[in-house]
Structure formats: C-alpha cells, structure tokens
C-alpha cells in the first residue's frame, strides 16, 4: 500500500526546511522499500509547527511537526506503523488552533494540491463559477451585495457596489485586476492563498469578469513573492488547459483571460491607482480620484480592482453561500477575516474567524503571547500604516468601524506583536522613514512630511526641545493625514500618533511633568 504524504510547498514552510524534508522522506522511503506519494500542498497556516507534514489515514489526515530533515526517518516509521512519535499532533482537523477557526476562504489551503484543477474541483472548487454561469449579472451582483463583503485590502469598500459600478459603465474593453501587492509587514494571507489555493483567486476573478463584462484580467504580484508568482502561473496554465480560462469558459458564451504581472519593489504600488500605473508600464505614481478606477481604470477602461482575499471570498458566496457568509460577523463587518498573527508571537499563523473577536483574544488567546516569553507591550494592526495598540485597548473587537473609532485600522488583517523591549519612539521613527523611502513623491505632505518627521523624531529621541518637537510632530501628522493624496502619506500618522499617544513615556519627558518641574 502506498502512503500519501502531504508536505507544504508554501514559502513559509520552505523557509524552515520543507524542501529538504520532502527529499529526506523520499530517500527514507526508498531505503525502506516503501512506496510513498508526496503531495506538495500549501500551508495550513500553523506556522510555529512548520514544516507540518501529514499522512492520509482512514481516520483522516494525521499531522507531525515541526519536523526537520533529521526527523524524516522516524516520522516515516511512525506513519507506516501508525505508532507514537514525539512530533505527532494527531488528526489535523482536530488540532484546537485549527478547529476554532471558521475557514470559508481558506477552507482548501494546505489541503489540496495547488496545481491540480481536479483536486480543486474535488473539494467544491468551481461550484461558484458553475452557478454564476447560470445567473444574470444582476443576480450575481445581488449575491455579492447580500454577502456584505467589503474590500479585504484594507479600505473596506463594499465589493458589490464596486462591481455594480463597473457593470453599469459601458466600454469596448473592461478589466479585472487583482491587487496581490501585499506589502504590509505582518501580512501573508495573499501569499498563502496564492501558493496554497490559487484556483480560488482565479475563480473569483472569473466570476467578476462574467459579472461586469470584462474579458481580461491581471494579477499584480509583488516581486518579493517568487513562490506565489510560480504557483499562480502554474494554476493559470492548468485552468487554461481545463477550459476554465480562455474562450467559452465551461462551455458558456463568456471568455476570460488572465495574466500575472510582477511588481518591482515599490510599496506604494499596493495603492490601487499606483498599481494601475505600474501595470501600464509607468512609474507607480498615485492618481487623483475621481475618476474612480471603476470608471477609468487600467488603460482608461472601467476596471474592477480588488484584493486577493476579496476575490478569494467570492466562490464561497456564489456557491450559494451569500447568506451564510453574511451571517458571520458584527455590525457592518460581515463574514470572516483571515487574520495573520506575526512578529514576536508564540503561535503565529493564519487564523480565519468571523469579525467581532477581540484583539486581546487574538493576541493572548490565539497567539499565546510572545515567543520570547516577555509581556506583550504593543501590537501593530494593519501593516506599516496601522496603529500601535497598547494592552489597555485589547478589548477592541476586530471590526472596521471599531478600529476606526479607536484611531486605528484593521487594514489587511495583520497583527504584529512586540514585547516590552520595544522602543516605541524608534517604531514611530521607522514609520516616517518607511514613508519617506516609499513615497511616490507626487504630493508634498507625504514626500516632504515624512522626511521632516524622521528629523523631528530624531530630535525628540536625543532630548532636544521635546515638548516643542512633539507639538511639531502632531501638527505634521495632521497635515499628512488630511493633505496627502493616498493612504501612504495619509495613514503614516496612525503608527506615529498611536505610539505618541499610548506610549508617551518612550518619547522623553512628558510635557506635563516638564511643566511641573519648572
């Protein structure tokens, strides 16, 4: 009997030795004369256990991890004999960290072979497209709107409205663009789904295409993600071979073609208009809005531009799940959010859950605190443009509006955990420095403000006229927030001001204490 063993090909697993482990398993099997089939999957998202490998058993898949090359022989023996092993984690689906999740978007990630259309279909893939092909454009739009899905890139704009705008705009050519320029530190959900379940992204984009009448699509992937580029290209080829991309999709009258384009190391290209400029072959300079991309987008044509996770949520919704999706969540944040726990965290990884879970539950309960074992002092939510939250605000529920009410943002759902050794003035400086490096240069508040911000925080850190310079920073942040053209300059004040507001002690003597001393 041949053993089916699943070894992730996900970059996060490869970075900690999954490729070497796969090779070692192969040679251990031939030494033993055992026949094995190694399936390279995506990651289940339990990164502290990576490389996490699984074996198919009659009871379900059994997991082992974190495994190294050196463990290959003993793990293989335990797999063959169904015996005990120190790294044996039991039935994968029963691992509490995984079981607690609500995996709608990530249901197949880490489970299927990301290069096989057949495997995708065997796990409910393409059901959404098949149903969409029987519906009118209006009926699809009604489903997307009913699901309550909002843009998962960070802005949270209702997806149904965006699609409807493009559907109602007439043009000889329309485009679907997938924003896979996942530049935020602490986020990796786009990378994971592209590497682990790329067909779900293709299916979501195809549904968008038939809904709005677009026949061409682009996936703009950042160059820092070579594994994702490879996985998407392989999946696109497979989908073309199976008739799921190209002319007359699935025998219907619709045509849709897809191409991957690779970025070139510019963070600002994650901003949608800058991304469109870059796709057109130009400098990634932000465009002023209006016109909206829905009216004049790629090459001036009506364009649906959505984040990877927004497209990836669509197949579930169109497969009859619109109401089920909307039943999850709180307030105006409907459905689930793939949350990413990163940085100095004990149990880091991807945790997909309904909106409404509190920050504290996520950091302490799910994440288990820091891996250094020191107390959690701050968490940055939403990438380099997201606010730093102190423990005092850990009761904030994960919800677009609740975070906004506390001067933060959920962004793309990344949470970076810091222990008590963090210097928050240094983090504030980094936010300004990063903005200065990555600014496209079009608007003054961002281009100049970020550089002045670095200089001013440097003065504060050396104790130079601290109260006066803090006032300068506050003023500067106000100018950047309200005067910048896009979120890069407009949101850099979030990490800076939150560090200043919640961790004032890191910025030299507080003004009140200074006044008292005088």
């Amino acid at each position: 009997m041949s053993l089916r063993i699943f070894v992730p090909r996900d970059a996060g697993a490869v970075a900690v030795g999954a490729d070497e482990l796969a090779l070692a398993l192969g040679s251990a099997a031939s030494e033993r004369g055992v026949e094995i089939e190694i399936v390279r999957t995506g990651s289940r998202g339990l990164y502290w256990l990576e490389p996490l490998i699984e074996v198919a058993t009659p009871q379900g898949r059994v997991a082992f991890g974190p495994a190294t090359e050196a463990d290959a022989k003993s793990i293989l023996d335990a797999m063959i004999s169904d015996g005990p092993h120190p790294l044996r984690l039991g039935i994968t689906d029963e691992i509490p960290w995984l079981k607690r999740q609500t995996r709608l978007t990530f249901a197949r990630c880490g489970v299927i072979d990301p290069r096989s259309v057949e495997d995708y279909r065997a796990h409910d893939g393409y059901k959404g497209l098949e149903r969409a092909l029987t519906l009118t454009s209006d009926a699809i739009l009604a489903d997307v709107t009913a699901s309550g899905l909002r843009g998962r890139g960070g802005a949270g704009f209702p997806t149904g409205i965006k699609w409807k705008t493009v559907a109602q705009t007439s043009a000889d050519q329309k485009y679907i663009v997938c924003n896979a320029d996942e530049g935020d530190s602490g986020t990796f959900a786009d990378r994971m789904i592209m590497e682990g379940d790329p067909f779900v992204v293709i299916e979501g984009m195809t549904i968008a295409g038939i809904t709005v009448g677009a026949t061409r699509g682009y996936i703009y992937i950042r160059s820092e993600y070579p594994h994702a580029v490879e996985a998407m290209n392989a999946a696109i080829s497979a989908a073309k071979r199976s008739g799921y991309l190209g002319a007359r999709i699935g025998g219907s009258a619709h045509s849709f073609d897809l191409e991957v384009r690779v970025g070139a190391g510019a963070y600002v290209c994650g901003e949608e208009t800058s991304l469109l400029e870059s796709l057109e072959g130009r400098r990634g300079i932000v465009r002023a809005k209006p016109p909206l991309p829905a009216h004049k987008g790629l090459f001036g044509k009506p364009t649906v531009i959505n984040n990877v996770l927004s497209f990836a949520a669509i197949p579930f919704i169109l497969a009859g799940g619109a109401k089920a999706y909307a039943d999850f969540g709180m307030g105006r944040s409907r459905g689930t959010m793939p949350i990413q726990l990163a940085g100095n965290v004990k149990f880091g990884g991807l945790f997909e859950v309904a909106f409404g879970i509190t920050l504290g539950e996520l950091v302490d309960g799910v994440g288990g605190g820091t891996f250094t074992g020191r107390p959690v002092r701050a968490v940055q939510v939403g990438g380099p443009l997201g606010a730093y939250f102190p423990r005092a605000l850990f009761d904030t529920p994960f919800d677009y509006e609740a975070f906004a009410a506390r001067d933060g943002l959920i962004g793309h759902g990344g949470i970076v955990v810091f222990d008590d050794s963090v210097d928050m003035a240094k983090q504030a400086r980094f936010a300004m420095e990063f903005c200065a490096i990555e600014s496209c240069g079009k608007c003054t508040p961002c281009r100049i403000g970020s550089t002045r911000g670095v200089e001013t925080i440097d003065k504060i850190r050396t104790g130079n006229r601290v109260p006066e310079n803090i006032a300068v920073i506050e003023d500067l942040c106000n100018t950047m927030k309200f005067g910048s053209l896009c979120a890069l300059g407009g949101f850099t004040p979030y990490p800076v001001m939150s560090a200043l507001t919640h961790f004032r002690e890191d910025f030299g003597p507080a003004p009140t204490r200074l006044q008292a001393a005088e």
């Binding site: 996060g12 970075a15 530049g183 990378r191 510019a266 400098r283 300079i285 940085g343 880091g348 940055q380």
Partner: protein, 158 residues
C-alpha cells in the same frame, strides 16, 4: 547557488526587448527580463526600450529609476536580502542585521569590495510568522538566529 548572468550584448538585448513589445504596458516586463538575463539593466538598453515602445528615453529612465528592484550595475555574486520590516523587527531582526553588517564589513545596500556579496534590506518577504527572515539568491530562510545568520553570511561569502 549563485545565479549566472550573460555579459551585455546589444543583439541579445534587442531580442529580449522584441519578445515582449506586443504586451500591454510592457516596460516593467522588459526591464525584468533584461535584468534576469544580464543581472542588471545596462544603460544602452534604455534608449532601445524607448525606441521599441515608442516612448521617450526620459519616460523609460523614469520607470527604471522609480522601482527599487532594478539595478544600474551588477550586484555581487551573491545577494543577501534581510527583511527589515516591523514583524522581523519585533522578532529581533535589527540585531541580526547589525551582526550581518559587521561580519561582512559593509552596510545595508552595499557590495563587499571583493564583489562576492551584496547586502540589501527588503521590506517584507511575507514570512512574518517565521520571522526574522531572509532571502539568499532567491532562497528563503526563516526563524533566523545568530547561528543561522552566521551560516548564511558564510555561505554568501563562499
């Protein structure tokens, strides 16, 4: 494995450019393809791209210089990129970056005098749950600690 690049050759450059001119918005695709072949984008290629795409030389130069990825000159034999973004900072990345700089005797963004190693910052490899992370000639490495960064540096110096 260090990547192997061809020496600049105008005929070969023209061939690479011609292969992509029919694409919509081809400039970045062409720049990537040239860099993949030659290890950098040689100066003489800029007017060639401009001519092929019916753009001004200034426009192509503008695109070339906007993006961090494109190189004006060849990098060292090995390129070591260390993630310097927040998640890796939280996991002790700053100290490891300083250690790599000290071991190599160069600061971030520079190439060692013997042309063996280019050390560069990168802002997020998306390996934030196995931080700190790095990339050596396209190979990703996570959960860096002092031992691992020393091994990576030694490998890059070979």
């Amino acid at each position: 494995m260090a990547p192997v690049y061809e020496p600049w050759d105008a005929t070969r450059g023209a061939e690479i450019i011609a292969k992509h001119t029919q694409l919509e918005g081809a400039t970045l695709v062409i720049l990537h393809a040239l860099q993949e072949a030659f290890g950098y984008v040689p100066e003489p290629a800029i007017p060639m791209i401009a001519h092929a795409l019916n753009l001004s030389r200034a426009e192509v130069h503008g695109v070339f210089t906007f993006y961090h990825d494109f190189r004006h000159k060849p990098a060292g034999r090995h390129v070591l990129k260390l993630c310097r973004a927040e998640a890796c900072q939280a996991a002790g990345g700053d100290a490891l970056a300083a250690r790599a700089e000290a071991k190599l005797g160069i600061s971030m963004g520079n190439t060692s005098a013997d042309q063996r190693v280019t050390l560069e910052p990168i802002y997020c490899l998306g390996l934030c749950a196995t931080a700190p992370s790095a990339m050596l000639d396209g190979r990703v490495v996570g959960r860096l600690d002092e031992t691992r960064i020393d091994a990576l540096v030694a490998e890059a110096q070979r």
